[in-house]
């Protein structure tokens, strides 16, 4: 069964450093998403991406964040200058259309020191 994959599974970085989280969505999906889950809190929507542009973003997704689909398979989330409060589990998801199920990857656990 096709699945969303994410790399790395864990990342530790120093505050102020740039990180890139990578995702490979399900191959025939057209909509891509990033969510995050701070430890002990709910899963929160960050951004959605369709047709090579951001279609919706939350107030969390400020100028420090960017997304890109650099090729036909990868979908990346970049945090330009990490803060302590960026420590969280980051989930990538994809769906085949707007009204279809979002399938989630296993997540990347980011720890900012």
């Amino acid at each position: 069964e096709p699945e969303v994959t994410q790399t790395p599974s864990h990342q530790v970085t120093q505050m102020g450093q740039e990180v890139i989280l990578r995702c490979v969505p399900i191959s025939n999906h057209l909509y891509f998403y990033w969510y995050r889950q701070i430890l002990g809190q709910k899963v929160e929507f960050l951004v959605s991406f369709y047709n090579n542009e951001i279609s919706e973003k939350s107030e969390i997704f400020d100028d420090q964040f960017s997304v890109e689909r650099p090729d036909g398979s990868n979908f990346t989330l970049k945090i330009r200058s990490t803060k302590l409060e960026d420590s969280a589990m980051y989930f990538c998801a994809s769906s085949s259309s707007l009204q279809e199920t979002q399938y989630f990857g296993p997540g990347t656990r980011l720890l900012v020191l």
């Binding site: 969303v4 994410q6 909509y31 998403y33 969510y35 809190q41 709910k42 899963v43 929160e44 929507f45 959605s48 369709y50 279609s55 919706e56 939350s58 989930f91 998801a93 707007l98 009204q99 199920t101 979002q102 399938y103 989630f104 990857g105 296993p106 997540g107």
Partner: protein, 115 residues
């Protein structure tokens, strides 16, 4: 804006007992509703979803959920819990009809299963 409430943070049941996890949502129109499960160290796995039609939906692993519009609820049930069901369960609502693509999640209910 849509929101989801899962009133139970933690539930403990004995193996073989029945289970009901509560979920209440707030959304002005007919929502799209989902239950996801997260095992420790794992991602979010879809258990079941409601888009329209029959209000009782069947999912994987023997789970079912019932959409009750009058109560704004979408409770998850299982008649007999297995030890492998121990995990965290998240209810989510989508607002696709308004053009929004995001899912809004509840805070989750952690399920412990006693032998």
């Amino acid at each position: 804006a849509q929101s989801v409430t899962q009133p139970d943070i933690h539930i403990t049941v004995s193996e073989g007992a029945s289970l009901e996890l509560r979920c209440n949502y707030s959304y002005g129109a007919t929502p799209y509703l989902f239950w996801y499960v997260q095992s420790p160290g794992q991602g979010l796995q879809l258990l079941l979803k409601y888009f329209s039609g029959d209000t009782l939906v069947q999912g994987i692993k023997g789970f079912e959920a019932e959409f009750k519009r009058s109560q704004s609820s979408f409770n998850l049930r299982k008649p007999s819990v297995h030890w492998s069901d121990a995990a965290e369960y998240f209810c989510a609502v989508g607002a696709h009809l308004s053009g929004s693509e995001k899912l809004v999640f509840g805070k989750g209910t952690k399920l412990t299963v006693n032998p």
